[in-house]
């Protein structure tokens, strides 16, 4: 019997549910587990803090999600944590995370890379069971189910990047996407209105609902209630369209267990609110990929908002504990304005100059490999809400400067007349300039430059070291037999790659563990095909 999606904002009474499993979070990990556990015959309830994104025709031709209108401010409020204004505790890093049905899969740029091999090697040293070989069926399942495809239509940012790379003899590759007949509207980051991005609310979640799963949206989890070595209850409340409590409560008493899939800030915060801090290990060693951004200004109009945003990259600089991945993207007026760190006439001049003739490249920086470094910590503020205490690690300072230098070189080689660096104050580099000012940017101090992240990992890690371990190798939370942590918070380091595919794959693995523990079938359904779409993997 098919399940349903219940919008918590519409619920007018307190409710109590008794499913087999309660999954907290509907993003990359929650969607996978909802489908696989439903497929195994379990009664599954998924709790999602953000709103439903119902399938409803909109006024535009082919628009499948009326609610997704591509308008930045409206979509940031609807789809992102804290309206896309989540900041690290010191204000220095903007943390962009999804908060809606499908979580991060609804707002990411569709980038599909496998886990970095040297990261997997490092994880094995830390006792994790994942290898290139044993992960392959999970990756293959993801690739074929979504599907993950090679999209060869390149927007202007990608074209300029390819040209600049070629002139510097820098290898560059297609970056596969989870899109299907993409319309190239460029709006992946504010939710695909056409259902052409294979996000959680297009694939995993409706398939899970078809098999009986129930999803509650607008449902914020307060805490887990423990009874000895088990979780007996999940306490939650419903919130309205403006994220305020409706005063109606939800209690879930799962008979078999709870899966935490609320992301690497959400999952530790729920554990902390539940007094499950494991001697203060929970929330520690949280990692991000700090992002540095360049905008090149070109002689011609570039239409930077349109086209496939993220399908070109170079792996050349991605190796090592502080390597970086340079990728290309799209950019939009509000996103650009929010990062400009300028005021007055110069603000408007930069917006005019770099918007209509701009091309973007950016770099995700790997972190988390130095055991002596503190990295980030998820804490609770005075209201019990999570905040990430994070300072850029010293080891990443030079790579962040050098990624800007390299991207600037690539832009200039591609014909840019200047390159804009989001420093405070803004820095423009022209042909013939030295890169000294870039190499003096102090990323270690807040607001000396605009720094983003869209990937948060760790905080509740799988590790053989008892001083760090929160999660066992079968994904159970230490000391709780019926609590599994299935999202990126188990990562002991940052991944060094866009994490969507890895999170899907590890959530499949976790689903298999849970099914086997309960003597239920787990099967792969999409193992067809030959080579995976990543030549280097």
């Amino acid at each position: 019997m098919a399940g349903t999606i219940v919008e918590g904002r519409q619920v007018s009474e307190n409710r109590t549910l008794t499913p087999d499993f309660c999954i907290i979070g509907s993003g990359a990990a929650g969607g996978v587990c909802a489908l696989k556990l439903s497929e195994a015959g379990f009664d599954v309830v998924v709790l999602e803090e953000g709103p439903n994104i119902p399938k409803e025709k909109g006024p535009a031709p082919g628009q499948e999600r009326k609610m997704l209108n591509e308008r930045e401010v409206e979509m940031y409020k609807l789809l992102y944590q804290e309206g896309a204004t989540r900041l690290s505790k010191n204000g220095g890093v903007k943390v962009l995370q999804g908060r809606c049905l499908g979580g991060g899969t609804a707002v990411n740029w569709s980038a599909c890379l496998p886990p970095r091999l040297e990261t997997l090697d490092e994880w094995q040293k830390r006792g994790l069971p994942f290898t290139r070989q044993n992960l392959e069926p999970y990756l293959r399942e993801v690739v074929n189910y979504l599907p993950v495809v090679r999209n060869d239509k390149y927007n202007t940012s990608a074209q300029k990047f390819m040209l600049g790379c070629a002139r510097h003899d820098i290898p560059h590759e297609n970056l596969p996407n989870n899109t299907n007949k993409c319309r190239e509207c460029g709006s992946c980051g504010v939710g695909c209105p056409y259902d052409r991005k294979m996000s959680g609310f297009v694939k995993w979640l409706p398939d899970a609902v078809a098999l009986g799963a129930t999803i509650y949206t607008d449902t914020k989890v307060d805490r887990l209630i423990s009874s000895n070595d088990r979780i007996s209850e999940v306490q939650a409340h419903f919130i309205d369209a403006k994220t305020r409590p409706t005063k109606r409560k939800l209690v879930v008493k799962p008979t078999k267990g709870v899966l935490l899939a609320a992301g690497a800030i959400g999952t530790p915060s729920i554990l902390l609110r539940s007094d499950l801090n494991l001697d203060k290990r929970v929330g520690r060693y949280t990692h991000i990929h700090p992002v540095t951004i360049t905008l090149g200004k070109y002689p011609e109009n570039t239409f930077p908002a349109y086209g496939v945003p993220d399908n070109m990259w170079t792996p050349k600089f991605s190796t090592g504990p502080t390597g970086f991945l340079i990728e290309t993207g799209s950019f939009y007026p509000v996103f650009s304005a929010s990062a400009t760190l300028q005021h007055g006439d110069e603000l408007h001049r930069i917006m005019r100059d770099y918007y209509q003739t701009g091309a973007i490249s950016y770099a995700h920086h790997t972190t988390g490999f130095d055991d002596k470094e503190k990295y980030g910590t998820v804490e609770l503020d005075e209201n019990g809400d999570p905040q990430l205490d994070y300072t850029i690690p010293k080891a990443n300072l030079k790579p962040m400067q050098e990624s800007l230098v390299m991207m600037t070189r690539i832009h200039l080689a591609a014909g840019a007349t200047s390159v804009y660096i989001m420093r405070n104050p803004p820095l423009e580099v022209k042909p013939g300039d030295t890169f000294d000012e870039i190499r003096n940017i102090n990323f270690l101090e807040s607001q000396r430059a605009s720094i983003f992240t869209v990937h948060v990992m760790g905080g509740c890690q799988m590790n053989k070291d008892d001083k760090r371990r929160c999660v066992n190798n079968d994904f159970t939370f230490k000391g709780k037999k019926n609590l599994w942590v299935v999202d990126a918070s188990i990562f002991p380091t940052a991944l060094g790659a866009n994490p969507q595919v890895t999170i899907y794959s590890l959530a499949l693995w976790a689903s298999r563990e849970i099914c086997e523990q309960h003597q239920k079938p787990f099967k792969f359904n999409h193992q067809q095909g030959g080579e995976l779409p990543w030549p280097g993997f």
């Binding site: 204000g91 509207c185 760190l341």
Partner: protein, 176 residues
């Protein structure tokens, strides 16, 4: 703590009245913080910014609903601190932030931007980010950027040939 400080600063703040600020019902701002926000935005964006972003105050007020309550409180506190602390003494008389000219307010923004204190730099970033992003969310500002709008409103965008033709088979660039 921030709540107590906000209450005290709110009581002592006396922002300049502006006829342009006509909003009377707020979710998160109040009349005083709305007037300070206007003064901040005018410094960041320039005189007459409401002509192209007529819903500026309402948009910010609504957006604040979605922020983490502690962060929202900090932003409102930053507005009150700006008004009560960041003024200038001119001719022996202290003029609070909103009573200063745009040029004088911009001098204060410059000092905040380059301050050695993290808190002051964060206040600068918050002021320019909120002002600039809200302003450029308005459709009326898009033509000067060359932004054609969103595809669900303008489906013809998707049918336009891209500035550089896609190459469907060979992803490698062709040297011009």
């Amino acid at each position: 703590m921030a709540g107590i400080l906000s209450s005290a600063l709110n009581a002592s703040a006396n922002p300049k009245q502006r006829n342009e600020v006509t909003v009377s019902k707020f979710d998160c701002l109040n009349k005083k913080t709305a007037l300070i926000l206007f003064a901040v935005a005018e410094a960041v964006l320039g005189e007459g910014f409401l002509l192209k972003a007529p819903k500026f105050i309402e948009t910010v007020d609504d957006f604040l609903n979605y922020q983490r309550p502690a962060q929202r409180e900090q932003f409102l506190l930053a507005l009150l601190i700006a008004e009560t602390t960041f003024g200038l003494t001119i001719g022996g008389t202290f003029k609070s932030f909103s009573h200063l000219s745009i040029a004088e307010r911009r001098k204060i923004l410059e000092k905040l931007r380059s301050s050695k204190q993290q808190l002051r730099r964060n206040i600068y970033a918050a002021f320019v980010n909120v002002s600039a992003s809200t302003y450029y969310s308005s459709d009326l500002t898009w033509p000067e950027l060359g932004y054609a709008g969103v595809s669900v409103d303008h489906p013809e965008i998707l049918n336009q040939p891209p500035p550089i033709p896609w190459r469907t088979n060979d992803p490698r660039p062709i040297e011009p």
